[in-house]
Amino acid sequence: MAKPIEIEAQGLCYTRGSRVIMNQLSCVFPRGRISVLAGPSGSGKTTLLRMIACLIRPDQGALRIDGEADLTELGLGAVRAFRRRVGMLFQGGALLDSMSVFDNVALPLREHSELGEAEIRDEVHRVFEAVGLDSVDALLPGQLSGGMVKRAGLARALIEKPDLLLCDEPFSGLDPPTVRRIEELLMQVNQSGGATMLITSHHTESTRRMADHLVLLLDDGAVSGDTKALLQNDARVAEFFAESTSPALAKGAP
């Protein structure tokens, strides 16, 4: 079982050139829950995800894990130890294109575990089965469809049973059946393993279906809380979803 992580952003600021991407952003991603990070394009969703992954550092502010250590202050060794607890699904999959799909997914185990090749093969096939991939062992990432790349990326993110799963736009560019399949998979992983999940998404239907916690990034800060409650009670959230989805869904239809 995973030991889910709680992340708290405190007063994050981030500027690139003359563009202010984040200004005093504060929000919480509760332990063991599926949090969806929504907001207009350029609102800093991916930037926040990359900050939590320690791939970029904020100009100012803190990112506390379990109310204690500040991710922005960690040294390289501590960052590597933290990343061992984190799985990340990148928007484009980020699979190593010179290696087979099997080798991509097996890589974290080969690097960090004492498992033999037979055990690694079993473990990789177990995760392939979980994400619905079959007969892809010898294929190169370039030979996969968009949906299969996402699933292979997800398999790699899940192979070490992470405590925190970060997913950057997992539904972008996918057809509706594949979106539903990945949605179900993520919810299943959350229910069975209990890992905290943080998903950036423009896909409002998926957000409504799977998020039990919503963080909406707006120009004047973040709005966060229980998804259903926010949709019913917060005018800004309702307006954002009304603009980005079909009228029926915006009114709360299933």
């Binding site: 990359r50 791939l55 061992r84 984190v86 990148f90 980020a94 190593l96 974290p108 690097e111 960090h112």
Partner: protein, 260 residues
């Protein structure tokens, strides 16, 4: 532009250059540190030697024959004026072993394998593959950079040796087979003139230094490329330009300092 603005621009460029050199030095130290520490990535190293070395064989061998043939032709025409046509083997051999073999191989390898190396790393950066490695707690310098750099350093002296051998063969073809020189003189003057420690080892040393330079420049340009398609192309182009200039400049200093 007024003089103050011009001075300011010059200062900014100078500071940027010094900063870039400092980053390059730090990068080089980190790359070497990653390369000499376990885990040893033998399979990746062999694959990279194939990419850098084996795939460069054809251009290196063909270029070697062509350069040797030109040397044979020019050397014969010049030596005939001084009544020393029999010394062609020594002229071709020494030119290739001491100078042209290592230098031209480095320029060729920088253009083929160095640019490909920089472009591949830069493209991995654009497609977030390097970030993907970081998220698996795998150091991209150790996993990607070190095997590529080491493969380049190991391949360069071997390729330079091949270039030189094929060059000597090209010189023989033209000087002996085409122009009717004496084959015995060609081989014996070559044998008499070439000293192993001074010439052969010196040439290999040069090739090794060029290998280090091309490897460091290519990997640095790849890892520091701007994450865009223009950045990939700029990384490849700048690798060829900088590595070529670095080869030619360092060649002078190696020759002058070691006095060989």
């Amino acid at each position: 532009m007024n003089p103050a603005a011009a001075l300011r621009a010059l200062g900014a460029r100078s500071i940027a250059l010094v900063r870039d050199l400092g980053r390059f030095a730090l990068f080089s130290v980190r790359l070497v540190a990653a390369g000499v520490q376990p885990p040893w990535r033998a399979r990746r190293l062999i694959r990279e030697i194939y990419d850098s070395g084996v795939l460069s064989l054809v251009i290196v061998c063909i270029s070697g024959v062509a350069v040797g043939a030109v040397l044979g032709l020019q050397g014969h025409n010049t030596l005939v004026r001084f009544g020393a046509a029999g010394q062609l083997g020594a002229v071709v051999g020494l030119s290739l072993i001491r100078e042209l073999g290592p230098v031209l191989t480095s320029l060729l390898v920088a253009g083929r394998a160095g640019s490909a190396m920089a472009a591949e790393i830069a493209s991995m950066k654009v497609t977030e593959q390097l970030d993907g490695l970081r998220m698996m707690s795998v150091d991209p310098l150790d996993f990607v950079g070190a095997p590529k750099a080491l493969a380049m350093v190991l391949s360069m002296p071997l390729l330079a040796t091949l270039f030189t051998l094929f060059g000597i063969f090209g010189g023989y073809l033209v000087g002996v087979v085409v122009l009717g020189g004496d084959p015995g003189s060609y081989i014996s003057t070559l044998q008499d003139a070439v000293r192993f420690t001074e010439d052969v080892v010196g040439g290999l040393l040069k090739a090794g230094v060029f290998g280090v330079l091309v490897a460091l420049i290519a990997t640095y340009r790849g890892f520091t490329a701007h994450p865009s398609s223009a950045g990939v192309s700029a990384a490849a182009t700048s690798t060829v330009v900088i590595a070529s200039v670095a080869t030619l400049v360092s060649d002078y200093f190696i020759t002058a300092l070691w006095g060989y």
